[in-house]
């Protein structure tokens, strides 16, 4: 699956960090597709073209692999930073556009992982919540100074969460196949209204 790359050499051997990366990629794909307990270390190793023991060599335990796979893809943070660069009254469209473009570009795996079953009872959900809080909510609330800022941002969070789940996880039409531009045109103003509109 993540195979067929030359692996630096036809035959064997090489790198190390390369195998590690292959394992990580396979893990992200499988965790996203099958959840935590539905994903076996053996399957990850097989999809990475690697011995199962290597997974433990690199990540210690299955939980360690999961944590490593959960690390947000590097391009997310800078993209998010751009969201807050502009003015407040175009924040709505910028939020939804950044979200969609970032997730369309990447394999939008992190969210898919995060919305699925995690190790203990729902650690991933905690992680998701913390991520959204840390990266989005706090900064958004800082820009609003309305007394109901928390509720406004909460509504926005719920909305973009729904869009993300609808488009990437549940694949609910027509949101799943709509173009980024159309979704931005649709949802951006609504988000904006949630943020800065009159008390709904």
């Amino acid at each position: 699956m993540t195979d067929d790359l030359p692996a630096t050499r036809p035959g064997r051997w090489r790198s190390g960090a390369q195998s590690r990366q292959r394992v990580l990629d396979a893990a992200r794909t499988l965790f996203a597709a099958r959840g935590y307990s539905g994903t076996t270390v053996r399957a990850v190793a097989a999809n990475a073209g690697v011995d199962p023991a290597m997974v433990y060599y690199f990540f210690g335990t299955k939980q360690g692999l999961f944590s490593a796979a959960l690390e947000m893809s590097p391009q997310v943070a800078p993209a998010l930073h751009a969201v807050f660069a502009g003015s407040l009254d175009s924040m709505g469209v910028r939020i939804i556009r950044t979200l969609l473009e970032a997730m369309d570009a990447s394999d939008h795996v992190p969210l898919a992982i995060l919305t699925r079953t995690a190790p203990h009872h729902d650690e991933s959900e905690v992680l998701l919540r913390e991520f959204i809080d840390r990266e989005l909510t706090d900064r958004l609330m800082a820009m609003l100074d309305a007394p109901d800022a928390a509720m406004r941002v909460g509504t926005v969070n719920a909305f973009i969460l729904g869009v993300a789940v609808a488009r990437y996880v549940v694949r609910m039409e027509p949101v799943a196949s709509a173009s980024v531009d159309e979704l931005v045109a649709r949802i951006g103003p609504t988000l904006q209204q949630c943020l800065t509109g009159p008390t709904a």
Copy 2:
């Protein structure tokens, strides 16, 4: 967990359909909490105070149990029916209010189940999509006759999906702890705008 009910008699024996129901309840709880592969038949049986073999006796396989547990709770359908009873311009608040009240009242298990990992690759997501389509989307679209009805309804779907996930699955504040009334006041008008507002 689902124990301590007299089970018809202090000691043992009796019923049949009763055991079946206990198994179903335990299954719903566990599938919701731990996902499909994270839930073992043994754990379901234990929580139901029943021998593991009973589960197979009643439902054949783990997959059969899952399917049975997925049957929508009976109160959802009539509640949804009420949504479409009123006028179009108060549809937004009715949708969100019905959703919240229904899920607050029940154990809001179905959604939790449906957003989690399912047997094969993502059967539950298909089920969720089909359910929303069948129960909500089609009827909503029938009431709108705008050319962009599909997109409007899609946006509404994404929004309520996000609210449900935020409140019941991810438990993201402040949506998770807000009162129904506040959420309705917040989100209802926004939904309404998605439905019948000017072309956003």
